[in-house]
């Protein structure tokens, strides 16, 4: 086993032995079930009324092609839950600054690049698992709605591509949160700094006034990556969205490494 593998295993051990990680994961998944439960009946009714030419009317007066609409609802639901995942990433990264554990981590892994890389890889693996669980929960609920119409839609290539886009967003967004928390040395600050641009996106102020700038915000990039441009007002294309998320993760990771190498480990 090489030193990097050992470092990642150590970081994974830290993650799975931290009660806060299990609590936050449990809350996010429970919230997901709750959120999916509420419109389940509405979706089932809408699917039951799909017209012979394949249109569905999820929202009154807005008929859409059923397959695209169903996959769009699936993507929207997972995107919504993805907004809670930064809390998990911040709890993982923030543990270092409780009881000054960072000092022990530096003792065990004194090389900054290896330490930061192992932290980010372990966080990515953890978030990936939770993101897959969210996608599975949402798919299960959607299966309840479409099972008598076209259950194969949920295991189609387009459905899996949608899940892949969600998982990419979840992992990249959480890596940025992990890095920001490390720079800020505070779980709460990490959550606030990561979610503040999301609030700007949700206000739609930038999307209406300066769409090019809006497209650089992480949640806007996630919308551009995941949602159907035919149905939603988006500010850029999918590739642009993915590159923006990669950029956020890369820039914040470098900032975290520079901060850790230049500041005393306190």
């Amino acid at each position: 086993m090489n030193a990097m593998t050992a470092a990642v295993r150590a970081e994974l051990t830290k993650i799975i032995t931290l009660p806060g990680v299990w609590i936050v994961t449990g809350v996010i998944l429970a919230l997901d079930v709750l959120v999916q439960l509420q419109p389940a009946e509405l979706f089932a009714d809408a699917v039951a009324k799909i017209t012979p030419d394949g249109n569905i009317e999820v929202f009154v007066g807005q008929p859409q092609p059923a397959s695209e609409a169903i996959l769009g609802l699936l993507a929207g639901g997972t995107l919504q839950m993805g907004l809670f995942l930064p809390v998990l990433a911040a709890v993982i990264a923030g543990q270092e600054f409780r009881s000054r554990q960072l000092g022990l981590t530096v003792l065990a892994m004194p090389r900054t690049v290896r330490m930061v890389t192992s932290k980010l890889l372990a966080t990515a693996l953890c978030v990936l698992v939770v993101a897959v669980l969210i996608a599975a929960v949402n798919t299960a609920f959607m299966y309840g709605a479409v099972r008598n119409w076209n259950p194969g839609l949920l295991v189609s290539g387009e459905a899996f591509a949608g899940h892949g886009r969600f998982i990419s967003f979840a992992v990249l967004y959480c890596l940025a949160t992990c890095a920001v928390t490390t720079v800020a040395r505070s779980t709460l600050t990490g959550v606030i700094v990561t979610l503040a641009p999301a609030a700007v996106t949700m206000s739609q102020v930038l999307a209406r006034t300066v769409p090019d700038l809006d497209a650089l915000l992480p949640l806007s990039a996630a919308r551009n990556l995941m949602l159907d441009p035919g149905v939603n007002d988006l500010t850029a294309g999918r590739v642009h969205g993915l590159l923006v998320l990669v950029g956020w993760a890369a820039v914040t990771a470098v900032a975290a490494a520079v901060t850790l190498s230049r500041r005393d480990a306190r």
Binding site: A3, A6, A10, T13, T17, S99, R100, Q101, A108, D264
Partner: protein, 233 residues
């Protein structure tokens, strides 16, 4: 061997460590003494790569700490103020440390037994007393069976049995040809444990040498300490 040479550290323009030079040799327990704020912990933190020196160098077997491969196998350290997350179980805390340096898992159980925490291994650290936390810190320092031990106030919070155990253990450890650097404010304890002494005050080394050399002409190490450091206790 630990070699500290002309080590200086400034914090916001103030000198916390000022041209500190000393050596801790194998087979010896070196006591690092000084009043609070003298620069002991800062020196140890620089030695262990946690803080950056303003100038000077601190080497372990001729290398900077950060350049050691699997450093926990070479150096075991107990630092004041750096501890495990309270919600984590002791065994899990030691497990991640062991994994990070490719130390066999069975060693976790061994060090827990060595420090008398085997029965409390699955308890969360937040339920531990101060003494138990200190024992856990010593267990972490011993994980990699290191050749060098750097301990900052290791007997803080320990009961008399624990203090005696640490004293005996460190003596035996050094007798095996290993290096022990021990920072403490307990003069009697240090006099009972250390072979060599380095006294630091206001960031500067006041005197150093073997215990006999430093205490020569004084009734005790404590008397020598007050006379040499001019410190108020």
């Amino acid at each position: 061997m630990i070699e500290v040479s002309a080590l200086t550290k400034h914090y916001r323009g103030k000198k916390a460590v000022d041209e500190v030079t000393f050596t801790a040799r194998p087979g010896r327990v070196t006591g690092f003494l000084g009043p609070n704020g003298a620069g002991k912990s800062s020196t140890l933190r620089i030695l262990l790569g946690l803080d950056a020196a303003t100038s000077g160098r601190a080497l372990i077997n001729g290398k900077r700490y950060r350049d050691l491969t699997d450093p926990l196998r070479s150096v075991g350290a107990l630092l004041d103020g750096a501890g495990p997350v309270p919600e984590r179980r002791a065994v899990d805390h030691l497990s991640w440390m062991a994994r990070s340096n490719r130390i066999p898992r069975q060693r976790v159980r061994e060090v827990l037994e060595l420090v008398g925490l085997a029965d409390a291994a699955k308890q969360r650290v937040k339920t531990y007393s101060l003494g138990m936390r200190q024992r856990l810190g010593i267990a972490a320092a011993l994980l990699g069976e290191p050749e060098i031990l750097v301990l900052d106030e290791p007997v803080n919070g320990l009961d008399p049995d624990g203090i005696r155990w640490v004293r005996t253990f460190l003596g035996d450890y050094a007798a095996g040809g290993r290096t022990v650097l021990l920072s403490s404010h307990l003069m009697t304890e240090t006099a009972d444990t250390a072979h060599d002494v380095v006294i630091i005050n206001h960031g500067r080394v006041v005197t150093q040498g073997s215990l006999a050399e430093v205490t020569a002409g004084h009734a005790s190490l404590e008397a020598a300490f007050f006379a040499l450091a001019g410190a108020r206790w």
